[in-house]
Amino acid sequence: MKLKLKIWRQKNADSAGKIVDYDINNVSPDMSFLEMLDVLNEDLIAKGDDPVEFDHDCREGICGACSLQINGEPHGPDRGVTTCQLHMRKFKDGDTIYIEPFRAKAFPVVKDLIVDRSAFDRIQQAGGYISVNTSGNTIDANAIPINKHDADKAFDAATCIGCGACVAACKNASAMLFTSAKVSQFSLLPQGKVEATERVMNMVKQMDLEGFGNCTNTGACEVECPKGISLENIARLNREYLSASVKG
């Protein structure tokens, strides 16, 4: 396959970036999107140019490291996959592909296609945990009976890998889907109920402090989420917030 790539290049966080055109000729339809970028980078290095910087780690869709806004959609045109699971067979020979970093004020560009997603870490640190006695008297989590429906919903929420596609897709750059998943995975379980009030108030406060936008329920996040995190979680977050506000 021959492709025309239009890639955002930015030297560092302080410099202005721009879209740069690249032609790539030796792309196999069986390559993953990141392997295609690896090939491009090998060519660039061979020519003495700077390779295109992008985030990646596990390359099997479970770590949440890879990102990229591909032709206007986070993780590209495929559904339920991360960029590392996107294959070049989803594109046609001769296609032009725009590759940009996830855009949000709370996700500043570090270099090229790499953005700083530590805002998510700070939201998590604000309350996305439970306090457990680890002094030798720890109660086995499996010893607490949990209704199957709730356990399934909590597990579904816990599959969020924190990649940031929800923020990238949202026209408001809202982090509500991420925050709601992280609140839901605890609020549905008995272990999470103890700190439920502080958790939701603190995580929402941190989410706002980071400068993410407001949720307007367009549903774009749910469609683009590689893990299929549902809007039900945002409704649950809203309920948790209402309930915590009433408790004070």
Partner: protein, 219 residues
């Protein structure tokens, strides 16, 4: 107020509550307007009651005005915050791939409805206030129907009215179900709420337009 509305979710909940309040108001407004088609006498009677009852005039009307102003002002505040949350835009952004036009452009449909509200106040509310509280005219319980019909004589005004209500329909198409989601309602009843919202978004604005066209062609 800033204390109550100091988080994004609180502001969204306030937005949803004011929206639901305006939906209830719209329903009662439609019912009253509809009586003008079936019985001018009933329309005059109800309008006279609404225009002279102290509870309606001095409690419900200020609450309604607050609800309208709050919904618009908060809408602008949220829109500005949302725009500020993405300072560098995308070269390519395929919004239509994952969300419908209506949900992405509530500010556009909202602005058209706001412009219409300006015209509506100019047409009905301002003359009504002048009639009652500036000129202190004696109350005529039979004037309302004639005033309504008179406004719909103009084809331009009837046209603007119709277009505005199409935009209101689009606003409600997303807004109705969105308000429930914001209030935390997403359960087995959600498909029914979404369908009810779509039916409301089509039938009520369409009904308003039908009433306007009826008076335009009937007089």
């Amino acid at each position: 107020m800033s204390g109550i509305l100091n988080t994004s979710i609180a502001r969204k909940i306030a937005m949803a509550l004011s929206g639901l309040f305006l939906i209830i108001f719209l329903t009662q407004h439609f019912i009253i307007n509809f009586t003008s088609v079936v019985s001018p006498e009933s329309f005059n009677e109800i309008s006279h009651f609404m225009g002279t009852n102290p509870l309606v005039q001095f409690l419900l009307q200020p609450v309604l005005i607050f609800g309208v102003v709050f919904h618009f002002v908060m809408g602008f505040i949220l829109e500005l915050q949302n725009r500020a949350a993405r300072t560098t835009g995308y070269a390519v952004y395929k919004g239509s791939a994952n969300a419908n036009w209506v949900s992405r452009n509530m500010i556009i449909s909202g602005l058209v409805v706001l412009a219409f509200m300006g015209l509506h106040f100019y047409d009905f509310w301002v003359p009504e206030m002048i009639y009652k509280y500036v000129e202190f005219n004696s109350e005529d319980p039979n004037r309302y129907y004639e005033e309504l019909v008179h406004k719909f004589e103009s084809p331009a005004r009837t046209g603007i009215y119709a277009v505005s209500f199409i935009l209101l329909a689009l606003h409600l198409w997303h807004g109705f179900q969105s308000a429930f989601q914001t209030m935390g309602v997403n359960n087995k009843y959600t498909p029914a709420i979404k369908n009810l919202g779509k039916a409301f978004a089509v039938l009520i604005p369409f009904g308003f337009v039908v009433i306007a066209i009826f008076h335009h062609f009937n007089h």
